[in-house]
Amino acid sequence: MSAVTELLQQTVEGVGAGAVYASLALALVLIHRFTGIVNFAQGELAMLSTYVAWQLMASGMPFWLALPVTLAVSFVGGMLVERVVIRPVEGAPELTLVIVTVGLFIFVNAAAGLIWSFTVKDFPQPFPDGGIDLAGVSVGWSTLGIIGVVAAVMGLLYLLFQHTSVGLVMRAVAANPTSARLSGIRVGRVLMLGWGLAATVGAVSGVLVAPLLFLEPNMMGGVLIYAFAAATLGGFDSPVGAVVGGLLVGIAETLAGAYVDVVGADLKIGVPLVIILVVLLVRPQGLFGRAAVERA
């Protein structure tokens, strides 16, 4: 295999991993845009969704039916989290909100352990084995499948936000809740919708990554760190940034693992931490973020 093919091969794998980070990062960014909250529990909610999918399949449902049902359950679950956990502390100081989402993290993690135990569960791979060969680069169906599903989700979100009136209303609430309310918009409901969407997008990352990582309550811990790196890199208030950031982090991680000897497989988790650190030092608002919230 030539050096170029090898590089392309690693890059493709990186994009596959990055697609998973991108969808969890997008969930983080959606909530941050809507509420200014950094939701530390996002990964755990995704993990919970993945258990729902697992449970459905364990009771005989085929994957491609279990997936939409899981996404629907996640959507409702996300709305409930907003209504029950977040609404009571709306407008509280930042530290309070951080503590609430960290508390939710711990609660969901423990609850999943209690219900499903901490033993590792096999999660079926929805995509066929093998793959295709593109100019010497072999691309697995699973990698293509992950990229395809994430791309479809992003496309749907784009259509929702840019081309429907619900999307317009959601963007208005994110931009200026006070004026939105005075335009007759029920801001609370829109925030519920935002949390529901974020939980759905996060669930996609959990379900896609589960066959690779095996399902257990701590499965999303590492993914969350990559997603944080992705969101920081792209800019915490930019959905496009989250996606680009996710892909870049995935590629950086894979390349560093393959080419930088000291990194190898064991130190890969250091890559997102380095990215977070460097971005915060060099360009804190991220690639696509705005330096400061403008108030004309």
Partner: protein, 252 residues
Amino acid sequence: MLTVDGITVRFGGITALDGVAFAVEAGSAVGLIGPNGAGKTTLFNCLTRRCTPDAGTVRYEGEDLLGLAPHAVARRGIARTFQNLGLFPRLTVRENVMVGAHTRGRAGHLAAALRLPRVRQEEARLRDQADELLRRLDLSDVADRPASGLPFGTLKRVELARALAVRPRLLLLDEPVNGLSHGEVDDFADLVRAIRQDFDLTLVVVEHHMGFVMGLCDRVVCLDFGRKIAEGPPEQVQRDPAVIEAYLGVAA
């Protein structure tokens, strides 16, 4: 149309409004003046349910306004502009106006999400109405630009368009011409007069620019330290010794 009675608002030790009472007749334009910190914006906040008074009543077309949820105020035909603009910065100028118009959209959220053809129609209608309003306020050229980054004078008109999109019958303007140049103030005054006619509006205007208030308003209410110190026709209030003292007291 609007009757404010005995409104009192306290923030900790500060009494921002202290038993303020006045009435606004349908079709009239009432100026609300007073030195900085007099409580004018706070009064607007009470009328739009951003703030709940500690005492007093507000009746709007016979209904208890203070019993409404904030999002329901728009549906009753009340809109406002903000002293420091209430725009949606990332949205385009057209979208800013479409959000306002959304209240009057008939397709509900769920229908909007599910029934695409009907939504297309709805979207097209919202868009047409927004474009009409943009033409009226001479904003067509910037319709597709994001609101952030436009010149201040333009933003003031976008802010007016955003409020008008709700199709209000009662429009509350908070310092609509602050920060505008002399020429711009005159243009804006002409615009507001024309809009008032066209849309059959009742106005309450907070403004420090006396020329603007005198030229536009039928009545003027003057607040100072949360109390009403004068009310009447503009020329009379302008000559009122209590009003002159309130302003000079601040200037000194």
